[in-house]
Symmetry: C2
Subunit: 222 residues, 2 copies
């Protein structure tokens, strides 16, 4: 049986879970879900996740959905090092603060920007509505500013110290996303840029491997 990962590297949370499995040497069977072809909306995939979302893991028959929940589950079940998600109650509350904030504080804005600027026009052949694009860019800029100001206020290498946590994988994979639509959160944000470089250096070659889809978008731009 083993562990199966249903994912697409196009999706930020899919990349975070993929990266986490690789970094912890957890063997898994790759089940790529073709989002462009709408595979996630077909009945077969809906048996795995009726919400049609990726990623999902199937761990010896036990299905877990939602990236943050998957990462917490894996830390518990696979007895992984504490730095990923601390058992200490107070330290855990700090990591939870970020993980619960990022859904609406960061993720929704960056994902929407890529959809408005790149995906919808690709799918419909029409340019984005200028007011929608403007608002979406503004929300992306604001949320990246908030991320840097609030969460990178210490001199630590990572969000919660000098070792990686699951929050770092979620954050970095999210912050890479808007580059697909021509916006790089590193620009004008030196702390954020050096934070992302820290995560990348600590997780390569897997970081670059899982971000290949983003890098290929950048190349195709020129």
């Amino acid at each position: 049986m083993g562990l199966k990962l249903y994912y697409n590297t196009f999706s930020q949370p899919s990349r975070a879970v993929y990266l986490f499995l690789k970094l912890n040497n957890i063997p898994f069977e790759k089940k790529i879900v073709n989002l462009m072809a709408g595979e996630h909306k077909k009945d077969e995939y809906k048996k795995i996740n009726p919400l049609s979302l990726v990623p999902v893991i199937d761990d010896n028959g036990f299905i877990v959905r939602e990236s943050v929940g998957i990462l917490r589950y894996l830390v518990r079940e696979k007895n992984l090092p504490d730095h990923w998600y601390p058992k200490d109650s107070l330290a855990q509350a700090r990591v939870d603060e970020y993980l619960e904030w990022q859904h609406v504080g960061l993720r929704i804005h960056l994902a929407m920007f890529v959809r408005v600027k790149k995906l919808f026009p690709m799918m419909t052949g029409k340019p984005p509505a200028s007011n929608l694009l403007e608002r979406s860019l503004k929300e992306t800029v604001n949320s990246c500013n908030t991320f840097e100001k609030i969460y990178l206020s210490s001199d630590k290498k990572f969000l919660f110290g000098n070792e990686l946590s699951i929050a770092d994988l979620m954050a970095a994979m999210e912050l890479e996303q808007p580059q697909m639509a021509g916006y790089d959160p590193r620009e004008g944000r030196p702390k954020l840029a050096s934070y992302l470089e820290n995560v990348r250096a600590a997780t390569n070659p897997h970081y670059d491997e899982v971000c290949e889809v983003i890098y290929s978008f950048l190349e195709s731009k020129s």
Copy 2:
């Protein structure tokens, strides 16, 4: 010292944490944050939460932000009954699935609908833009449909069995919100209506107490 709750019953997650504290007989000092007067954006409150969000708890000097994180923290720290948030890894993964989904799956849509239909017009004196209102209502309807279809598919009283979990408090407080803008998720959804009645019956008189702000909106409508 004790426990302080910074909150406003106008906010769905504030209500969930308030309700949880009451149901577990945890004494707390009420620190009402006047959102209408912009108190959450002032420097004094930003020392508590630089993100200007409610709720926040200050537990003997340890500050915890983000409702889902606060509820998890309280279950751990106050040694509360397991049904609130199960220690069993597989059961916990199920509760996490809902808690991580609801941010973007339910909360953002219902909150936006109330803002577009009610709050922005109250603040600006202008009616909502019709296309924005239409889209916002559609997203609210869709997410309530999804909630009923996916999460109320069993015959259990609550989301994860016949005892309350923190997910039920988050869900019920969210689903009460759009009534403030004239949309009641119970209408046309008998399973959702009876689920909300189950949560209300199991948590009263605190449920009605914390929802007073919503009920007063309903009365002022007529």
